[in-house]
């Protein structure tokens, strides 16, 4: 079985649409978020998380993706 992508919606629900988000897969928590992906990565490293999962809060949450 491949690495599962668990449901991250609950972690992202209070964040701004379009924000890039770094998630710790160890603690299942948001480490950093920003409009800029590089900022998110840098802030994660500053907090000791070198391999965060990078996701984005959907800009079009109400849109069916095709």
């Amino acid at each position: 079985m491949a690495t599962p992508a668990i449901h991250y919606s609950s972690l992202l629900k209070d964040l701004h649409a379009g924000a890039w988000v770094a998630i710790s897969e160890k603690t299942m928590s948001v480490i950093a978020y920003s409009a800029e992906i590089q900022t998110v990565v840098e802030r994660s490293r500053q907090q000791g998380e070198t391999d965060p999962l990078i996701v984005r809060v959907p800009e079009l949450a109400g849109t069916l993706f095709l």
Binding site: M1, A2, T3, P4, A5, I6, H7, S9, G18, W20, E25, I37, Q38, V41, D51, P52, L53, I54, V55, R56, V57, P58, E59, L60, A61, G62, T63, L64, F65, L66
Partner: protein
């Protein structure tokens, strides 16, 4: 040939005129670790997408991976609702965990920046693995 499963991830779609109760979209997603020729890595979500011609990722990922899109080879790609997306390509190592890893000639396109996840398509992924889709259990158990 290795056997593995991609669990479906449920996305709630807001109500709209034709679907006043909203919709649930189930997508076969996984976590992938990307490694570029620079040695830099990025962990992200990927969707196994048999409708994609090749493996493609948001262009924003390129900078994190230390890649310079301006110097990479480019071609135009299209998807539903978009066309003529400049897509820069290079070899990319993709690790899905549990021994499932491969190198694909992958693209980076601004057309995917709004979603923030990659697509594993025909060239590079489906030409290496047999993939079966069985969505029903996800709908029952999620």
């Amino acid at each position: 040939m290795p056997t593995f499963e991609f669990p479906y991830l449920g996305f709630q779609i807001a109500p709209s005129d034709p679907f006043p109760k909203g919709q649930a979209a189930f997508r076969p997603m996984a976590v992938a670790e990307l490694t570029a020729s620079t040695g830099k890595r990025l962990r992200c979500l990927v969707c196994t997408d048999s409708g994609a011609d090749s493996c493609v990722f948001p262009s924003s990922f390129a900078s994190v991976l230390g890649l310079d899109i301006l110097t990479m080879k480019k071609h135009l790609t299209a998807g539903v609702g978009s066309s003529a997306n400049a897509t820069a390509s290079c070899d990319l190592h993709i690790d899905l965990g549990r021994g499932i890893q491969f190198t694909a000639y992958a693209g980076f396109t601004p057309g995917l920046d709004s979603t923030g996840f990659g697509h594993l398509g025909q060239a590079g992924f489906f030409d290496r693995y047999n993939v079966s889709f069985f969505q029903a259990p996800a709908q029952i158990h999620n």
